[in-house]
Amino acid sequence: MSAVTLSGISKSYGAQRVLDSVDLHVPDGSLTAVLGPSGCGKTTLLRIVAGFVRSEAGTVSLGDRVVESPGTALAAEKRGVGYVPQEGALFPHLDVAANILYGLPRGRRSKTRLAELLDLAELPHDVARRSPHELSGGQQQRVALARALAPAPRVILLDEPFSSLDAGLRVSAGRAVRRVLRHAGATALLVTHDQGEALSLADQVAVMRAGRVVQVDSPTALYAHPVDPETATFIGGATVVSGQVRGGVALTSLGDLTVRAEDGPARVLVRPEQVRLVELAEAGVHGTVTEVSFYGAQVVVHLDLADGTPVTARGSSAHTPESGEKVGLLVEGAVVAYPESSQ
């Protein structure tokens, strides 16, 4: 396994600039998620690393070997980069065993290696003789992963690997894939548009927007300190209110909030789980409940403040208000503020 380093990668299709000087370092043995809305260029980035598409500028290095630069490009089959596309793309004419062993030289396609890979991918041994269409979506995904891992590649690329699975299966499939990758000690680059997936699975998340990488951070750092309000709202819902920062306190319609920012006008970010609903008398800020979405253990409450500002709160369903009820609001913990001038 080896680290992946991209520097200054650019790519256009016709007049459209898909990738604009992208830099990214994927540390050895880590799982990095590239997160962005569809059309932000993340899949093109993956295909450049795989060697299916040439970049126009910049370099790609696997370990200390440059595989892609303006002058030269190593062919895809010589890069040693495993690829797990959407929906797995298993070879439909081959059974599971032949799919998994496809990338190994003839002499190394042994029963023991197959058994190792099935175990690694947490697949029961009796699926080996089945056809891809007889497997569930999650199983197909794990066979595709085992197939990609079989030749012991330096890096594994996963392109929206869970997008075809239904919601319930996604979470468990994601965790299984992460376990498998950890076990194999693989360096992995995962492309997704689902922030929950990126935050829960990756060691490092790179947020992409319109062909650029806007922030690279660990999931916790990314959630706590998004680089701008757009990133903040993209990574988990957030209420953004304007206010004035004075001496570590932001004065907003949600009250006076603790903040670490310079004095001046600012946009203040409040996460739904920071908003606590209390009795009217307990808080200085009041709001009217407009909509209640009940999720069993959790409840998401939409409110309007007196001045009409919409606010979202998320909390335990032990305290579920009624629609139309007037409640008090408290904001817990420090908030993040962005100076207004930066916008």
Binding site: A50, E56, K78, V81
Partner: protein, 523 residues
């Protein structure tokens, strides 16, 4: 810094595609060029003749009646088999598809050799309709079998009776299948030569043949060809207009449920009698006739030597023609699936033009062009094979195209990422995936060539006899007994393709969207 190519390169595939389309456009180009350069005076004289008016009347009269009759027979048969409690649906399905295995010229041989009364307008209508109604029946069965019950149930919950609910909510969705089938019947009627010649019913095809026999490649023949091709193209346009831009796809994605069958009640024996009668006419008569002449013929002569010569040359011609046709279809299908541009789409469409070209027009054009351009090629194997390839390119194209769609490029990406070279990827992934479809396309072309009459008759090299030409020379000189063994072999050769089509459209399976395209493969 590398630059991105915006304009498509002239790749080998594109070049091959252009060559293929160039070859397939020879017959149409010839007819257009010849009529355009003829001079208005001569064209007018050749066109405004009572003879042309008579042929046009005959052809249109036959076309309209046969299309109407086949639509009635095909739709009624399909509804009885799929939507009622008729019983034994698979048996009836087989019996109603089976007439496709009897080539139309063999069917009319069966009738003519028993009674000369069919040598009339109504006789022609009867025999040709009995040969072609499965072309409507099969696509309608396929659409009926995949029809979801929900819209009809909604119509009934809104107060419609069963029959009105079917007419209002189901019938419109069968329209594409019916129109597609009717178009095929129409094109077959316009192109039919052997059956109508035996039935003594003069249309454009028989007149073109007569011109060729008496005056070889004459301007009169060319003008008749031009009128015939125009009729075919008009028919395609009529179908296109009738189909319109309406869409009948189901909304939503659930698989759907089949509706409850209509209960026939006291009408059930009537339905059985009607279907039995239809089967007796479409299969019983030619079957009886064939057996009769086989028994009579075998007592006098059973030329095993001639038979095997004809069989061997038929099989070799069919094999060579199938290989050539598939090779010509490959670049067009590749471009259409993998290199989608306006140019590649136009090239693929052009490959389907032959659907509107009767065999006699293709044959006549190739004869004239080969004599003028490369006289040494006249009446040689390459010209005959080219005619087959032009005529049957659409069938090969449909199969090869859908097989290429079975091999999405992402599978090749995965293979490359697993360390396989382009060649190993082709051998281990692409070929295994596309081979079955290409094989099926080749098989369909092979079977179509082995029962092809018109082009073979006009183009086969001197001394080459095939099943169709031997059958023809015997039956057209009223040696019915001698023709019988060849007729039997022709029927046997047509059975596999019929079984393929019949299974593809069986009640209860298949995707309706696929059927109209598949039906282009039909006899």
């Amino acid at each position: 810094m590398t630059t991105i190519r915006v304009h498509p390169r002239l790749s080998p595939a594109l070049l091959a595609g252009i060559v293929v389309v160039g070859l397939t456009l020879i017959p149409l180009g010839y007819v257009v060029w010849e009529t355009a350069t003829m001079g208005p005076g001569q064209l007018h004289d050749l066109l405004w003749r009572p003879r042309v008016g008579e042929l046009l009347g005959n052809t249109l009269k036959l076309l309209v009646t046969v299309v109407a009759l086949t639509v009635v027979l095909g739709v009624a048969g399909a509804i009885l088999v799929v939507r009622t409690n008729l019983g034994a649906p698979m048996l009836w399905h087989a019996l109603l598809s089976a007439p496709l295995a009897v080539p139309a010229f063999v069917n009319s041989y069966g009738w003519v050799s028993l009674t000369s009364q069919v040598q009339s307008y109504w006789g022609a209508v009867l025999v040709v309709s009995l040969s072609y109604f499965p072309l409507v029946y099969l696509p309608v069965v396929a659409s009926l079998a995949t029809l979801d019950a929900a819209p009809e149930e909604v119509a009934r919950s809104l107060g419609r009776g069963r029959a009105r609910a079917f007419a209002g909510a189901a019938l419109p969705r069968l329209l594409p299948g019916i129109l597609g089938g009717a178009l095929l019947v129409g094109l077959h009627v316009l192109a039919e030569f052997g059956a109508l010649q035996l039935l003594g019913y003069p249309t454009f095809t028989t007149a073109i043949y007569g011109q060729y026999r008496s005056a070889f490649a004459s301007n009169a023949g060319t003008v008749l060809s031009g009128v015939l091709v125009t009729l075919c193209i008009l028919l395609l346009l009529v179908e296109l207009l009738a189909r319109g831009r309406r869409r009948y796809d189901r909304v939503g994605r659930s698989a759907g449920r089949p509706p409850e069958p209509f209960r026939l009640g006291a009408w059930r024996p009537v339905a059985w009698a009607a279907l039995l009668g239809l089967t007796a006419l479409s299969l019983g008569v030619p079957g009886y006739s064939l057996v009769h002449w086989l028994l009579v013929g075998s007592s006098t002569e059973f030329p095993i030597g001639d038979l095997s010569t004809a069989l061997v040359s038929t099989l070799s011609l069919a094999a060579a023609g199938a290989v050539l046709t598939v090779l010509m279809a490959l670049p067009l299908a590749w471009l259409a699936v993998r290199r989608r541009t306006t140019v590649s789409t136009a090239l693929e469409r052009a490959g389907y033009i032959a659907n509107a070209l009767p065999g006699i027009v293709v044959a006549l054009a190739l004869i004239t062009v080969s004599i003028r351009v490369v006289p040494s090629l006249y009446q040689t194997l390459p010209v005959l094979l080219l005619a087959y390839a032009i005529l049957f390119l659409p069938r090969a194209l449909v199969s090869v195209r859908s097989s290429l769609e079975q091999a999405p490029p992402v599978l090749e990406d995965v293979s490359r990422s697993l360390g396989q070279s382009a060649w190993a990827t082709l051998r281990r992934v692409t070929l295994p995936l596309v081979a079955p479809g290409i094989g099926a396309g080749a098989a369909l072309v092979f079977l179509a060539i082995s029962t092809e009459l018109t082009a073979t008759l006009l183009l086969s090299p001197i001394g080459t006899t095939t099943l169709a030409t031997e059958f023809w020379s015997n039956s057209s000189s009223v040696r019915y007994g001698a023709a019988a063994p060849y007729a039997l072999l022709l029927v046997l050769a047509a059975i596999p393709a019929t079984v393929m089509l019949s299974l593809h459209a069986r009640p209860g399976r298949a995707s309706a969207a696929e059927i109209p395209r598949r039906m282009e493969l039909a006899a």
